[in-house]
């Protein structure tokens, strides 16, 4: 159970498949336009429930609960071998090392 007042993310459908703009590529047209918004839940809830949140700007927004306390998980990626020689080669051309 997610306690009232917890920071959560909710999902809402902005436009269903049939409601989307006419000039769209087929792959996009086959999907609904969705939005995810974060804020404090106004009642106890569970993932998958419809819940209301209060956003940081003071808006009340309803949606399906997707995440409790969403974290940032983007990072610095993996080691990329293709980049390892760029600096070394440039320094050799410049004759600095």
């Amino acid at each position: 159970l997610i306690k009232k007042g917890t920071y959560i993310e909710v999902e809402e459908i902005v436009l269903n498949k049939g409601e989307r703009a006419s000039h769209l590529p087929d792959d996009t047209k086959a999907t609904p336009l969705k939005v995810w918004i974060r804020g404090l839940c106004q009642n106890d809830c569970n993932i998958g429930d419809t819940a209301e949140i209060l956003t940081v700007t003071g808006r009340l927004q309803k949606g399906i609960v997707t995440i409790e306390k969403p974290r940032y998980d983007h990072d610095y990626g993996e080691y990329v071998e293709e980049l390892q020689n760029i600096g070394k080669q440039a320094r050799e051309i410049l004759g600095v090392i």
Binding site: E19, D27, I37, G87
Partner: protein, 471 residues
């Protein structure tokens, strides 16, 4: 009429309320409008802009000489010569990019006009800039991002920008792919009554004028002359337009203004599948070309970003070249800066080799780097999305299929795009919006200004389109 069409039909009315500009007063002829009057009606002179920006720590960024990159250009140049390359370190602005210049004026204007909040539709640095300026001015802020594909997978760079907006206290709406983001945005403006900090309003563009102005003034102070060329990363056109106007206001009429975009030919910008096949979310041809040939496709009725009025030349570089240049900037200049902002540096490295040693070429921006917004996560993400990464000749790069990191600095190249083709295309797009086949003499003047071309050439193109010029 569906709810989408219904709301879109009220677009102009919502815009008028959210930005305080009645665009209809500038319209004239059959397809023209008074651009300079619209720019002047912001009520902010260049001096006012500089003062407003000074007050919030925006601008006056250092102009740094890239001595090692210049030396490297000379080593690989066919003539042995290359212009001195300078970079305007715009990452020194409060939120880490030149976009603070654009946001600063909108936030100031919103506060003066009594709005309680400010909003913007952007997945880029501009969101962070608006959020940062809103924090300084005590305004609520909502940023609407095109963030994910339908699987809820997002580019690491966009995820980072969402984080940064929230770090400044903004609310972020993260949407899936599609141009109807504009629908969600209009709905939000209508519901909240917030100020629309559009990248394409006169405020969003005249904030960049200080950048072109500072470059010209710094060069004259340091070297006693204007820069020979300024290279600008081109996407929606505001960066090119504002910088071009600033250079002209500084009297640097002889400086060549060169636009540079990452070549993403073949990738559809509204495609759910293509969305995560590109490694650049802005500064690419997917925005650069459509916004150049049809500037009023933006989120305001008349865009203040009109790049064809200012561009002398337009070139493209590859994704692999920008990643290569980003690594080079870190490795031999000791400056770790975000990849997208280095698009113009990749182009300048090649263009400098067409020039003489005593000439000066200025790269007019850098941007911050960080988790997500960095070559390693971006290349990791590309690989995970099936993009083949290799070392070799960047000429063989096919957007959406592979990324080729140049295996030697001599492999760096640019492609020159024909501005005449885009001038014609602009005229064709403008003409498509009129009813009937007659336009007025004032429209011909307008098209000549818009395309920075002679009236004769404009008339020739109009004749090819079977349009007649009435009185």
């Amino acid at each position: 009429m569906g709810k989408y069409e219904e709301l879109m039909a009220r677009k102009n009315e919502i815009m008028k309320k959210s930005i305080g500009i009645d665009y209809s007063i500038y319209e004239k002829g059959k397809l023209s409008f008074d651009y300079e009057k619209m720019m002047k009606d912001t009520g902010y002179s260049l001096n006012d802009v500089i003062k407003i920006q000074n007050d919030v720590g925006v601008g006056n960024t250092p102009l740094l000489e890239l001595r090692n990159i210049t030396k490297l250009a000379r080593k690989v140049s066919k003539t042995g010569k290359a212009a001195r390359i300078f970079i305007k370190d715009e990452s020194a602005n409060p939120s880490g990019s030149f976009k603070d210049r654009r946001a600063s004026l909108s936030a100031y204007d919103a506060k003066i006009k009594g709005y309680k909040g400010i909003a913007s539709a952007t997945s880029g640095n501009y969101g962070a800039a608006v959020a940062s300026q809103a924090a300084m001015r005590g305004l609520h802020c909502i940023i609407v991002q095109e963030a994910y594909d339908s699987r809820k997978v997002g580019q690491p760079e966009i995820l980072e920008k969402g984080r940064k907006c929230e770090a400044y206290g903004a609310e972020v709406l993260r949407l899936t792919v599609g141009p109807e983001l504009f629908y969600a945005y209009l709905k939000l403006l209508e519901d909240t009554g917030y100020y629309n900090a559009s990248l394409y309003s006169a405020y969003g563009v005249c904030g960049v004028e200080s950048l072109g102005y500072e470059i010209a003034v710094s060069c004259r102070e340091k070297f006693g002359k204007n820069p020979d060329a300024v290279v600008v990363t081109h996407a929606g056109g505001g960066n090119v337009t504002g910088t071009g106007r600033g250079l002209i206001k500084a009297g640097a009429d002889d400086t060549l203004l060169i636009g540079a975009s990452v070549n993403l030919a073949g990738l559809h910008m509204a495609s759910d599948i293509d969305f995560n096949k590109k490694s650049f979310t802005t500064g690419h041809t997917g925005f650069g070309i459509p916004f150049m040939t049809n500037p009023d496709r933006s989120d305001v009725p008349r865009s203040a970003a009109r790049p064809l009025r200012y561009l002398d030349r337009y070139v493209t570089v590859t994704q692999g070249e920008v990643f290569y240049t980003t690594e080079l900037l870190a490795q031999i200049e000791g400056m770790e800066r975000g990849p997208a902002g280095n698009t113009s540096l990749a182009a300048a490295f090649v263009i400098s080799q067409e020039m003489d040693d005593e000439q000066i070429i200025v790269v007019q921006e850098t941007e911050y780097t960080g988790a997500g917004k960095h070559i390693l996560p971006q290349l990791t993400f590309a690989k995970k999305n099936g993009i083949d990464l290799s070392l070799g000749d960047p000429r063989e790069e096919i957007p959406g299929k592979n990324i080729i990191i140049p295996n030697h600095p001599s492999k760096m190249y640019i492609e020159n795009l024909d501005l005449n083709k885009y001038r014609k295309s602009y005229i064709k797009n403008a003409a498509e919006k009129i009813s009937g086949n007659e336009i007025l003499d004032c429209d011909v003047d307008f098209l000549a200004e818009e395309t920075r071309d002679s009236k004769d050439k404009v008339i020739k193109t109009l004749q090819e389109l079977n349009l007649v010029i009435g009185r």
